[in-house]
């Protein structure tokens, strides 16, 4: 029999602590504890609401980090690090832990570009979301998370290559702002910072929410949102064993007055689809990925791409390439053995040879800004009969063109920064030792599964907008047609973003919480 959880002070509970079926009746149930969920939970608690947060991932403490890829990816990433589009053409990195992707992300922090907000207003009918409205929320988050520019003397060699190369070419470059406090530049952000120096949600807004009485259930996977007429009435969740990730058989039911879905892109649409709540047939559509390709540079000097803050330099020279073109921005990616082994092109001797040079490799990435051209529909999330989430994403011609031009730009940056050679991400890699070789990228095959692509920025799938026939939530992030269900995570973007998404999601969530609070009834 279900017991009602005792009211009491807030805390984080793991699956091991939930030994019987539990029913909760808070003001708000937040599903997902990442960028959107944590900030919304903290702000709603601050505004006086009783909050319960459900998080399917584990509560990972900094001291739990073994800093080994083989442990970190299965433990802290969606689908145990194996998430990808259905054809495996694009590997998708997303976090799965208390704190969501912010527990593994690379700390780069950008406010939403004004032109993106303007595009959303003009093309997608998003109302009232202006730079002025968001600015105070960004400011508040930036202060709370100690977001500041990485000092010049703490840029690692991998990022220095981007800085030097872009500088030599006369291209725009900047040091990034990061959400860290006391960062020792160890370079293991992607495996869970071992010293808690990143102000990820588990180190910041979730403790804030807990101090205000919120209860956070780790190892609790929401399986269904039950609704009646225009109201969400219950969230059904299964409790997972923190050791194995398998259901323990215990059930958790939350019957809140307001529902905040914050499982992130892909998972929030999947939960809605599993719950058969898709009024306009738009749930899961317009999923964007900032599809990424890398160009690896081989340097004589030591780079040690695993060491130092993973991202500290960015180049937005090509973010806006004019009408009809997809823009891209260039950043870096840390390289550790497992990820390098999986993503370097081809196999056999040549692959080993390059892998053996890991200490001298630098990885640049071009992130293409998908979703802004009228013909771009993005990917689609669906749920299979066997329960698997399925992401179909067809890379369009304009994105391919941007990936190609991005690869050229990255090769040039490497060569300008003094690399001996630059290698494209093709399975049959294109090796470039000088400008003359860069043109060979024009003849390389730009086709799925011939060139390695990945994404750490899943976005969209519950697009916001005015028109209920074309979007899932309104401009206040409330679901069209429902009275008490909001979506507060990266899935509400109607396009991709053109910058790394976390700060946009933090700001949106803080703003949205102020919209939600007065409507809880």
């Amino acid at each position: 029999m279900a017991i009602e959880a005792p009211a009491g002070s807030g805390r984080i509970l793991t699956g091991a602590e939930v030994r019987r079926d539990v029913e909760e009746r808070p003001d708000v149930c937040v599903v997902g504890s990442g960028a959107g969920g944590a900030v919304a939970a903290a702000r709603l608690a601050e505004l006086g609401a009783q909050v319960v947060v459900l998080e399917e991932g584990p509560w990972h403490r900094p001291s739990d980090s073994t800093l080994r890829e083989e442990d970190a990816y299965p433990r802290l990433y969606q689908e145990r690090g194996q998430r990808a589009t259905a054809d495996l053409a694009i590997a998708i990195l997303q976090g799965r832990a208390v704190g969501g992707s912010t527990t593994v992300n690379w700390t780069t922090s950008f406010r939403t570009p004004d032109r993106v907000l303007a595009h959303w207003a003009r093309v997608h009918g998003v109302e009232g979301l202006t730079p002025e409205v968001l600015a105070p929320h960004f400011a508040a988050v930036e202060e709370r998370l100690s977001i500041h520019e990485q000092p010049a003397d703490e840029v690692n060699a991998n990022n220095q290559a981007l800085w030097d190369g872009a500088g030599a070419l006369g291209w725009q470059r900047a040091r990034t702002r990061r959400n860290v406090q006391g960062c020792a530049n160890l370079g293991y952000c992607g495996m869970g910072c071992p010293i808690g120096a990143r102000t990820s949600m588990d180190q910041s807004y979730l403790p804030d929410a807990v101090l205000r009485g919120a209860r956070v259930y780790a190892d609790a996977r929401a399986t269904r949102l039950e609704y009646k007429d225009r109201r969400g009435v219950a969230i059904h969740a299964e409790v997972l064993d923190p050791a194995t990730g398998r259901p323990t058989g215990r059930k958790l039911v939350v019957r809140p007055r307001a529902v905040v879905l914050a499982g992130g892109a892909i998972n929030t649409p999947a939960l809605l689809l599993r719950s058969r709540l898709d009024i306009s047939g738009r749930v899961g559509k317009r999923t964007f990925l900032h599809p990424v390709t890398a160009v690896t540079g081989l340097y004589r000097k030591a780079i040690e791409p695993w060491s130092g803050a993973p991202q500290s330099v960015t180049c937005h020279q090509f973010a806006d390439r004019g009408p009809g073109k997809v823009g891209f921005f260039v950043e870096t990616a840390p390289l550790h053995p497992m990820l390098a082994g999986m993503s370097l092109g081809g196999f056999g001797e040549a692959h080993e040879e390059l892998a053996s040079r890991l200490p001298n490799l630098s990885a640049l990435i071009a992130l293409t800004i998908d979703g802004f051209l009228p013909e771009e529909r993005g990917g689609e999330v669906t749920v299979d009969g066997d329960g698997r989430v399925r992401v179909a994403y067809e890379v369009g011609d304009a994105v391919w063109e941007a990936l190609r031009e991005g690869s050229k730009a990255m090769a040039r940056i490497h060569l300008a920064a003094g690399a001996e050679a630059a290698f494209s991400s093709h399975e049959e890699t294109v090796e470039m030792r000088g400008e003359a070789d860069v043109a060979r990228l024009d003849r390389a095959p730009w086709e799925r599964l011939r060139v390695e692509l990945f994404s750490a920025h899943a976005m969209g799938g519950c697009a916001m907008g005015r028109d209920p026939d074309r979007s899932v939530v309104d401009s206040r992030l409330k679901m069209h047609g429902m009275d008490n269900i909001w979506v507060v995570d990266g899935s509400v973007f109607p396009t991709s973003l053109g910058v790394n998404p976390q700060l946009t999601i933090f700001g949106l969530a803080r703003w949205a919480a102020g919209q939600i609070a007065p409507q809880i009834r």
Binding site: L67, V141, A184, M191, H336, P337, G341, F347, D386, L449
Partner: protein
Amino acid sequence: MFRRRRRPVRVLLPGEKEGRRGFLKKGLLGAALLAAGGGSAWLATRKTRVRPGLRRLQVFDAAQLTVLLAVADRVIPDHPGFPRPADVDLPARVDAVAAMAHPATRVELRRLVTLFESGFGGLFDLSPRLFTDCDGAAQDRRLRGWMNSRIAVRRTGFKALKRLVAAAYYGSPATWKAVGYPGPPVGAELAAPRPPAPAVREEPPPPRPRRFRPAPVGIEPALPAAAGPGTGAASGD
């Protein structure tokens, strides 16, 4: 292109009703099977010679592990400083990686391995022999044939095999030396004095109203008096 009448072995789970076309779009490695036609009949007639010492694990049987080890031996051929896949216990590691996948994906992975091994899979590159019976050069041809195939699902199959063995191999600390990776920071570096944790309020949280009473908020919420340092509230609205 290749077209066959025979129905492939279905990997649909109970409750799934998709017909053949749905299947083509759905099961990614199932689709590889479809493209290959009724390869499974072939498979039954020929047997992989199991490498001594291998036995069935959670996902793969001994024959499938033999194939995966053979694939790993070509993806990571003999190279100075690189341990042999068998020496890092690749079969167990590969199986552990696959065991983390969804049950339906595990089924697809098993089928992929069996298909790749089969002579039938080799028909595309005109070497209708078991992968494990081929010499190294022929094995490389088959791998490259899938990697560069005009049929996208074959490239998907190659990608799955490569990711599986590369993740298993390079995840092993025994390979770190070969790639010049010193391993994660330990001891002194981590024992350094802990940096200041982000500010957390010391005072107890304000008492919670029994019934929710919305704070007076508009588009720009006014701050409830309770907002303290660390919420960042002071800096914004």
